[in-house]
Assembly symmetry: C2
């Protein structure tokens, strides 16, 4: 292909200008503070990991991993999520810390192939992992914390759909014993929310009418606590039954957290991470077609790093939330321009220092102005007299101070 | 080579555990706030850039760049500094914004080869760029802001050495006209602070005694304002003279900023970035062999991105500062453990929510405790009775609340 133009950046990655950074930082800080208040402590891991360890353990398919070689010829990957790196840390640096371990993170993650579809190759995630607790209470805690985190991020209207990988595994194994290919196809239709394809595939399978009707029926199993009791009657498979009982217990804990208004049970929910083993969930903001958070239980991942343990967690899709919510910012923040000449410099800098240290102004910019440029400054001041905003060169200010000719000319 | 062990991370990269992250975040937030108060607005750019644009323009030598291919076969690099990406942004997305443009950043940057020497392949930098102002006042502003930023980061004892690329270029061209190879060798010795090698190389060159003595003398030209007048007499070369006059003007502006106690002029200073064209500086913390910040003027970089403009800036070596300064933290922060059973759950969660929302406690952890585990909890409480700290499983708490058996058992 042709050489990129000098000012181009790679496809699928972004520049965040000051206005967006202010919003992003606000989301990041508020969400991390929320997670901190629940006892989750922040960690950071490297951008690069070994392909053979974290790369292979991650839920990202091989062709979506960004790969590179280090100078020893070992293949590295850019992290595609934070769950596998945190599992590595829990099993190595933190191996002597007793469970449960509660960790939070805010990091950019990388997906290679999505750039082709106009999707993002690098984006931010903010999340938690709760390692070493298999209970329904632990799952309810991360769902309740996801709800608190979305609110902290400024997302007000959203629903969280909760399912259980084990329910679908048990139900399909009962209906189609040993037919793994058919089971996986059905699950793929559900993952893609392609209910038409799911029902068509069902009709092509050899099933009793009652069983087919039951399997079709799960696409309508969405709702509150009542779904649990209905689902208990659906399958006698032990895994399916245990999964539903886990969801029922979770629901009670979510009620104790006071968050059920945001939650619905959706038994077609699988979760798109291959390491999920138990409950999974996705959060949908009102009027938005894609999830703003997702999570679930992954009880088999830690053993890949040599410290077997149950674990559960979630990640906010922070970059999407950034696009969703309005600007925060400080609309009334004072930005002061101090213009000076050689003789006024010391007084100008002294004033700037005082203003910066006192925190009275959000920003203080000093600018040396020669005699010729003073006219431009006066014109800018006149132009901004009505709306109280002075536009000078590339920036906007709320206040102008001038220090010309030895002593402070005017304040 | 052999496969990496499951829990290994690549050589030269780091995991930051909660204690280190707290410190790092504190430095990051305080420094960015300081930069903001000087009118520098934060931007973020992608981790990956095109090799042919930012990669080539960066100051990092080719073999130190981490390279990878995207799925179109184009070579990408992991950013090795933030100066070149910001130049790209100023020349593209911000092309209609008038100069001067003041931008700040906090980002991790990548250097491939240094991992072999036990150095870091990924580390944090926090810095600013001031684009579109060629004046000594602009250079003095970034030096004064570097000083303010180091203080904001918690570094109290440090010195900033300032030099000028143009002075050495002019002086060497005057002494060794056209002998570029010898000039570059001499500069390499100075860059490596190898004054013995520098003097030996000087002795091997055909020079008048007076000139040799002058060139040797510059290694002793370190000090305050007096160095400027001494240096003016050293070389009649126009570039050298203009450079020294620039430094003298800068010194006056630094005096007006009230920061001269931290500054010394060191005319052997070159700066290790090949794109520097004017003044350069490095900050050294007391008792530390390596710089904690470095910066300089680069008036030719922006034109590579199609928008010619003078520019100056600096970066704190944030990862090194993290190792240098003591822990900040909140020693008196209250961490509450709320233990509950099924019947106490709703009351426990209610209390947790109240504490989290009020901000009374820094962290509130809820834990379901069965009858067997209550004994362990009581023992932990007894063990911690003396120092007011309760160690339970992997974590430390300052306060325990229990909600067992339907109603709040005890607070």
């Amino acid at each position: 292909m042709s050489k990129p133009k000098v000012f181009e950046k790679p496809i699928g990655v972004k520049d965040y200008l000051p206005h967006a950074v202010t919003k992003l930082r606000q989301i990041e800080n508020q969400v991390l503070a929320c997670m901190g208040s629940w006892g989750y402590e922040q960690i950071m891991t490297p951008t690069m990991e070994y392909y053979d360890t974290v790369g292979v353990a991650s839920s990202t398919s091989d062709q979506k991993l960004f790969k590179l070689l280090n100078n020893r010829g070992t293949t590295l990957v850019l992290r595609s999520d934070m769950t596998a790196p945190i599992a590595r840390v829990v099993a190595s640096v933190l191996k002597d810390v007793q469970f449960p371990i509660r960790l939070s993170y805010h990091a950019s993650v990388f997906r290679a192939i999505e750039e082709e579809a106009g999707r993002e190759a690098e984006f931010f995630q903010t999340g938690v992992e709760l390692v070493g607790d298999a209970s329904p209470d632990a799952d309810a805690e991360v769902v309740a914390l996801a709800i608190a985190s979305l609110k902290a991020a400024g997302v007000s209207r959203f629903k969280i759909a909760i399912g259980h990988v084990g329910f679908l595994n048990g139900l399909f194994e009962e209906a189609l014993p040993g037919e793994h290919e058919a089971q996986e196809e059905l699950k793929a239709f559900l993952l893609g929310r392609d209910y038409v394809g799911y029902r068509e595939r069902l009709r092509s399978l050899t099933l009793s009418d009652a069983m087919r009707s039951e399997l079709e029926g799960i696409t309508r199993l969405r709702g509150g606590q009542e779904i649990c009791s209905q689902a208990l009657a659906l399958s006698l498979d032990a895994t399916a039954q245990a999964s539903i009982r886990h969801l029922c217990e979770m629901w009670d804990a979510l009620a104790a957290h006071g968050v059920c208004e945001h939650v619905l049970i959706d038994l077609t929910m699988i979760g798109d991470f291959k390491y999920y083993t138990g409950m999974t969930f996705e959060a949908y903001a009102a009027d938005l077609g894609f999830p703003v958070a997702s999570g679930g239980r992954y009880d088999n991942l830690l053993q890949q790093f040599g410290r077997p343990a149950p674990a559960t967690g979630f990640a906010l899709k922070t970059t999407r939330i950034l696009e969703l919510i309005g600007a925060g910012g400080e609309p009334n923040a004072e930005r002061v321009l101090i213009a000076y000449d050689a003789d006024g410099r010391a007084a100008a800098f002294d004033k700037a220092r005082t203003l910066r240290e006192s925190g009275t102004a959000a920003a203080v910019v000093t600018e040396r102005v020669d005699a010729d440029a003073r006219q431009a400054l006066r014109e800018a001041e006149t132009a901004g007299a009505n709306d109280g905003e002075l536009r000078y060169k590339g920036a906007a200010f709320t206040k102008l101070l001038t220090y010309f000719g030895g002593s402070r000319e005017r304040e």
